[in-house]
Point group: C2
Chain length 281, copies 2
Amino acid sequence: METLADALARTRAQIEDGLRARLAPAAAPTPFDQALAHAVMGGGKRVRPSLTLLCAEACGGEAGPGSDAHRAALAVELLHCYTLVHDDLPAMDDDAERRGQPSVWAKFGEDTAILAGDRLQAMAFAGLAECRRAAALIGPFAHAACAVVDGQVADLDTAKRPPETWDKAALYGIYDLKTAALIRLACRLGAIAADAPEPTQTALAAYGRELGLAFQLVDDLLDAGQADAGEGLNAIRILGADEVRRLAGRHTQAALEALGALPGGAPTLRAFAQSLLTRLV
Amino acid sequence: METLADALARTRAQIEDGLRARLAPAAAPTPFDQALAHAVMGGGKRVRPSLTLLCAEACGGEAGPGSDAHRAALAVELLHCYTLVHDDLPAMDDDAERRGQPSVWAKFGEDTAILAGDRLQAMAFAGLAECRRAAALIGPFAHAACAVVDGQVADLDTAKRPPETWDKAALYGIYDLKTAALIRLACRLGAIAADAPEPTQTALAAYGRELGLAFQLVDDLLDAGQADAGEGLNAIRILGADEVRRLAGRHTQAALEALGALPGGAPTLRAFAQSLLTRLV
């Protein structure tokens, strides 16, 4: 039985290979090619697309190169990368760094960063269009792509309102759209790509949503130790660390329960959810 | 026999109705809803989506509300609107006005404009995903969405190089991607939505490309009378007005020839191409 760490190393390598192939320029790379590569190959953990592959496998589906699950996973990561490139822009979060490197706009200019994000979103859909089950995959993907934007809008709107108006409902509204929608999508696409029956698709979508919420809350807990902790909207500030810890546990539990319907119990997905709380991934 | 003007008034109204329905918010409109409406309902001529409807009709297909052609036409217009919103941004063309109104960033802020463009692109794909022929429509759409970005990149790159290096090849490279790719797509999607045979799809794609090039060249000729004419990259500056007029005529002729293969001769599409030169549309 493959350990969680081995499964994640394997799926991450599959994603890296796929992204590299997808981004390989036909000729000598232009500065724009370099900007796209900088945006995508900057060393993320590839959690979302790995979940697409692992969910497809949990449904007994193919997840190797050329499979619908693999193409869908790459599309999920390209979508995620585009949102990071645009989020970092001066007019948005104004982050000149990401993962210890200059962000795309800081290195290549704002105009290039805007266009690189736009193109990554288009490329995500182009890859999905090549899937055998394109018709079934694209609807959920496009709706999640809308949701992610709505989450960013809600985040910026809430941040402009006085902190005393921030509450749990506003927080969950943002986290559901900004973080959970994409992780839910990643899991759901794996099930669709594997041609899983409708109840399994629903179960894995629920798993992804709960996982996404737990993921974001754990992130806030870990950030609480950072220098700029407490600035801006975050769960700790609104709910306190104890309540956030309790909620992260509750969402992880709900994610595990959603797996109950799966044949074989999906041990890797189970281990993934459990590892969140101890942040082994 | 419906005149060209009547056909365009009819298709334009169909597009306006469809866009209004697509953008109608579920509740009281938020500022972001208003920004989306401002981006889309700002009074364009709807040339591109009208071509999708007219091409579907020329192939004997349905183009009314709920048809694949109508959904594809709306997607084409949403894609076009997103590119305008991002093109106007301060880091890009820095246009504070569009069609006599403040541009989206000037009215709603840069962050909202970036996110509005992002969401319009996602909405374009979401609408396409609802088509019966989604699988056939999405590939060409996604590739054109990439091409349009590449055209903008080529435009910005060329503009940064010394004007004495600008030549016909660079100009056509940009016009093909930036303008012709989307008009080509609009026509091709009409044919695909109407389930036209492959040779007809190819013929209408060729019609759209030639039309797109003629359209852009005529645009440059008309702009030559404006106050800021001659600034930046344009066909007149590189080729001279006489040559641009000759090329616009040649591309219009090529567009008309592409229609030769169509049953019935597609009189409305023929009239559309002819009207370009006299700019009746």
